[in-house]
């Protein structure tokens, strides 16, 4: 588990990260989401011990990073934003070097490196120079080095940035596989990526954590939902019936059809599934035929823009 407590980082007079606290639970993929310049890379450099925080503490698997730096670093593998590759080395030599650096037992290095290359799809380029590899393979080599020594915690900084769509899909699949038996913290500014990979999301904005929730919580929390509906009733009648619906906010009438139906957009508080069920029961009890009931789900992108927007306004 990774636990950050009140982490702050100043670059001279500029405060890059402010009082950041969150946890990454064991065996789950946590996404650090934020726009460019939000402080993601700074935070990951701090968590990996590359850079000390100005204040605050970090614990990796129960060990304090400041007091047990070396032991903590044994527990984690890090893929920085730019993969740390030595172009003059072959893939195999490079991974062997990283294993030695991470104090892997000498006798097991060769087997370990073979396994990592198989897992990351690098076997066919094992004897190629890193400087001659394509961007996709370089990224794979970057992830492979993070796996050397089999650390339980993986920290990946924008692992898919700059890749083509096929490579993005392959790297995401690899991260998904790794997430089954590792604690993964990865940063991204791509909402779809976080949505498709993570069980937990931390949103960073202007160096501050503004949300730390599971994906479903984030999608549902404290938000109004919209339901499109078509009911055989006059607009006024429908308005008065819907006032009895728990969480009712407003009804925007879109159209009154000739066959007596009123089409509208209903806004309710809470999640759409619960509201939809209650709405169905309410209309059934009033004997009002229902022709359309279509909950409109908010995308994570909308949620993200909303929360970062709110934060921006409050700042």
């Amino acid at each position: 588990m990774i636990e950050l407590k009140s982490v702050t980082k100043d670059y001279g007079h500029l405060r890059a990260v402010t009082d950041v606290s969150f946890t990454c639970p064991d065996g789950r993929i946590t996404g650090l989401l934020g726009v460019n310049g939000a402080g993601k890379t700074t935070l990951l450099n701090i968590v990996t011990g590359c850079m000390p925080p100005t204040s605050g503490s970090i614990q990796i698997d129960g060990l304090d990073l400041k007091e047990n730096g070396r032991d903590c670093r044994r527990h984690l593998g890090y893929l920085p934003e730019r993969p740390p590759l030595y172009d003059e080395m072959t893939v195999r030599d490079y991974l062997t070097f990283v294993c030695r650096l991470r104090e892997v037992e000498k006798a097991g290095i060769s087997h370990h490196v073979d396994n990592i290359m198989d897992l990351c799809g690098l076997s066919e380029v094992r004897d190629r120079l890193l400087g001659h590899l394509s961007k996709g393979y370089r990224q794979r080599a970057g992830i492979a080095q993070a796996l050397c020594g089999d650390p339980p915690v993986l920290i990946l900084d924008e692992p898919t940035v700059g890749l083509d769509p096929r490579q993005v899909a392959e790297i995401r699949e690899l991260i998904r596989t790794l997430g089954k038996d590792h604690t993964v913290l990865f940063s991204s500014h791509m909402l779809t990526e976080v949505q498709s990979l993570c069980q937990k999301i931390v949103i960073l904005h202007h160096g501050k954590v503004i949300r730390e929730e599971t994906l479903s919580e984030l999608e549902q929390e404290g938000r109004t939902s919209e339901i499109r509906l078509s009911v055989r009733a006059k607009p006024g009648e429908l308005q008065s019936v819907l006032r009895d619906l728990p969480g009712f906010r407003k009804l925007q009438v879109l159209e009154s059809t000739k066959d007596g139906y009123t089409e509208g957009l209903l806004t309710v508080s809470g999640d759409t599934d619960t509201a939809g069920e209650k709405l169905f029961r309410l209309l059934a009890a009033r004997d009002l035929p229902l022709r359309l009931l279509a909950p409109k789900k908010e995308t994570l992108e909308e949620v993200f823009l909303q929360v970062t927007g709110q934060e921006g306004e409050s700042v």
């Binding site: 070396r70 890090y78 730019r82 740390p84 070097f97 650096l101 104090e103």
Partner: protein
């Protein structure tokens, strides 16, 4: 530390750096050997070693330029900083890699000793003392230039910084010819060249040994301190 040392030594020979360094070193030292030993039919290897010691000023930056600066430039320093190796371990691994290539080159110059031994007379104690001073001086220059590399953001800057530092040290030596005697005493005390003179007379000077080692340790400590300060201020 050994992993870093091993990688750096390999890197010298998988890139052109090691070959360029050894090649230029042997080329210049061969010219000096021709001029100093073969042409005048002399067996004065200590004077020859004294002249060769100026090669450290010229060639040490070649050996150290990429060690720290390239890591920053290519952002591979993240790999080292996030590994279970201390900053001291990183610096020592890199430093000893440079010293290894340096010693390998010095070893090759024993050919000159062999040639003089065949055609003239060589006094082993004297030669070993001369080489000890020569190596210690080289190690001090390597440490100073490694520190310069750690302060630079790229290889070109690292070379310029290192040449600048080496040139200033040489100028201090030159300066002692035209300053008051009180200042001369201070300059001689801190001059790596003056400190090497007892070795070139076949004297085993412990003061010079300690001075060379102290300069080396100080430069390495400053490198570690500089790295730590740089990472506290934020990685580039």
């Amino acid at each position: 530390m050994t992993a870093i040392w091993r990688r750096e030594v390999q890197s010298y020979f998988t890139t052109a750096t090691g070959y360029v360094y050894i090649g230029i070193f042997l080329l210049i030292s061969s010219i000096l050997f021709q001029l100093q030993i073969l042409t005048p039919r002399s067996s004065d290897l200590l004077t020859f070693l004294g002249q060769m010691s100026y090669l450290w000023m010229l060639l040490s930056p070649v050996l150290t330029m990429r060690l720290m600066a390239e890591e920053k430039q290519k952002q591979t320093d993240r790999l080292l900083l996030s590994s279970p190796v201390s900053l001291t371990g990183i610096v020592l691994g890199k430093y000893f890699a440079a010293v290894t290539v340096m010693l390998l080159t010095v070893l090759l110059t024993f050919v000159y000793v062999g040639i003089v031994g065949v055609y003239g007379s060589v006094y082993p104690g004297e030669i070993l003392t001369g080489y000890l001073g020569f190596i210690l001086q080289g190690m001090a220059f390597a440490a100073i230039d490694l520190f310069m590399s750690s302060m630079a953001s790229g290889q070109v800057t690292a070379v310029l910084y290192a040449f600048g530092a080496n040139f200033v040290l040489w100028m201090l030596d030159m300066l002692s010819m035209s300053v008051p005697s009180a200042v001369v005493r201070v300059l001689d005390f801190i001059s790596l060249y003056t400190r090497n003179e007892p070795f070139l007379m076949g004297q085993l000077s412990f003061a010079s040994i300690i001075f060379d080692l102290a300069v080396t340790v100080l430069a390495l400590a400053l490198t570690v301190y500089g790295m730590d300060r740089a990472r506290r201020r934020g990685l580039k």
